[in-house]
Amino acid sequence: MSAVVAIAGNTVREFVRGKLLYNLLLFAALFVAGSLLVAQLTIGNWVRIILDMGLGAMEVAGVLLAIVIGVGIVAGEVQRKTILPTLAKPVPRWKFCAGRYAGLVLLLVVNAAVILAVLGLVLRLAGYSLGRTTLQAVALLCVEFAVLASVAVLFASFSTPILAGSYAFALFFIGHLLPDLRAFAEKSQSALGGNVARGFYLLLPDLELLNLKAHASNELPVAAAYVWRAAGYGTAYAAVVLAVAILIFSRRDLN
């Protein structure tokens, strides 16, 4: 376990030293701060504009980090052969994967927390405060990032960085279309078509279950029981995907 914690800590340190995190954080912070100007230009009910732009910026920055770094922490290391000195030590591959993944998720949570702090500040300047639904939406966004990071690690465990990144981005878009796939499965006249659609729905991550941004901006209450269940679904899905990624990566020939 100490090896996993040590690798996670190294992963956080490595990316805290890098420029990508700060660039994305700066982009998100400017975007959130800019929402105050956009709100002033347009309608008096500013809270919605600020929340929409703030949560949107948080999702864009988080998804980019989850996929770009998620691919890099495995496929990038394999491609550059920098993984070999680590694996030459008595560190099992599963610990390497789990540690890198844990470090990435921690980084994503910190990133979301920083953007949330900026969002809270901007809301306060406009005379509003962070509502309960907004905090629930941010919590589920963090779960979405964890799911996408696990997907990125999975694709990176058997593919090149560019392909792995492309697959992960495709899955992000597909994940937000899944409610329509479910509706198609329910309405399909063909039993085969319905079953295939249902199979894909169960296999792919339903990211719309983790999307409460519209509820937050419309200030609609969301039951805590839903948030726990959705977060549990996302966490379990990420764990399964990470387990598959570790299984594939453990059997991969790195030479």
Binding site: V38, T42, I43, G44, N45, R48, I49, D52, M53, G56, E59, F172, F173, H176, L177, P179, D180, L207, E208, N211, K213, A214, H215, S217, N218, L220
Partner: protein, 304 residues
């Protein structure tokens, strides 16, 4: 090449580039082709399909279309002929309809539609009411928790359509909601009892003005309140003029004559910045704007 010469050459080249960029930019601007006015066109795909294609950013797109609608509204002037206002009305309706199709819970878009779509002309014609009612009925289904939806619908039904029983029902339903202010229930009762009363319409419009938090929406409600205050003043002047004639046998020559004779406590302030004038036949008018002619039990708006 000596270092100083090389440095001077680089500085000179930099200065020439800056100067050339400034001059060429001005020159290009003066010789540019005629600018093409770009307007946002609603994509030819249904709102529910567009909602799926926003990949989780649907409320942001709904904000964008509402903001476009807010930008479109000032293009429609009060004295614009209907044939010129019609394309603006269509675009406004489509943008607002799209906004609530993408995010059906967007209460701000419903409230803005109720304020911005209906507009009347001086000759008693009104446009956009049915579109506003269509959007508000969707708002009632999607946001049954918001008392403003039923209240706005009731206002449109009473003010423009003169369907007072339906308006009283809408107000009554709004009054039953947990956060509805107490006056909504009172207005529902008064509306049912005194349908067509100008004072009721003024109370409704003033209530909407007090609860409108969007700037553009406030302006629309303020215009309606001003028009109703003007109508109240004009009716007051005309009634005073009739009393004057009954007592003195002749019509008064001006509003000030009514005040001087004690038939009016003071000359009312014209809310648009003009003044009130008493005509030779005893009718009153404002120097600032056309009179609202279609309010009351006898006269009705012509709905378009």
């Amino acid at each position: 090449m000596p270092l100083a010469v090389r440095g001077s050459a680089i500085a000179l080249a930099f200065a020439v580039a800056v100067f050339a960029a400034a001059v060429l930019r001005t020159s290009a601007q003066s010789r540019g082709p005629v600018a093409i006015e770009t307007v946002l066109d609603i994509p030819p795909i249904p709102g529910d399909v567009a909602r799926a294609l926003t990949f989780g950013f649907r409320s942001l797109l709904a904000d964008f279309t509402l903001l476009q609608a807010i930008q479109v509204l000032p293009a429609r002037h009060g004295d614009m002929p209907p044939e010129l206002a019609a394309p603006i009305d269509r675009r406004l309706f489509r943008l607002l309809e799209y906004s609530v199709e993408i995010d059906p819970k967007f209460s701000g878009a419903y409230r803005f539609a109720a304020a911005a779509l209906p507009h009347e002309t001086g000759d008693g014609k009104v446009y956009g009411v049915l579109d506003a009612i269509q959007i508000l009925e969707k708002g009632l289904r999607e946001r049954p928790d918001e008392w403003q939806m039923g209240f706005l619908l009731g206002f449109l039904q009473s003010y423009y359509l003169h369907d007072f029983p339906a308006a009283a029902r809408s107000f009554g339903a709004a009054a039953d909601l947990p956060h509805a202010p107490a006056f909504v229930g009172l207005l529902a009762t008064r509306l049912a009892a005194q349908a067509g009363d100008l004072q009721i319409a003024t109370s409704l419009a003033e209530a909407m003005l007090a609860h409108a938090n969007e700037e553009a929406t406030r302006k629309e409600w303020q215009d309606r309140v001003d028009a109703l205050h003007m109508e109240r003043d004009l009716r007051g002047i005309e009634e005073a003029a009739q009393r004057y004639r009954e007592e003195k046998g002749v019509l008064p020559r001006s509003v000030h004559a009514l005040v001087a004779a004690g038939f009016l406590p003071a000359a009312p302030r014209e809310p648009h910045g003009g003044r009130y004038v008493l005509e030779g036949d005893g009718s009153a008018r404002s120097t600032a704007t056309e009179r609202l002619r279609a309010y009351g039990l006898e006269t009705r708006f012509e709905i378009h």
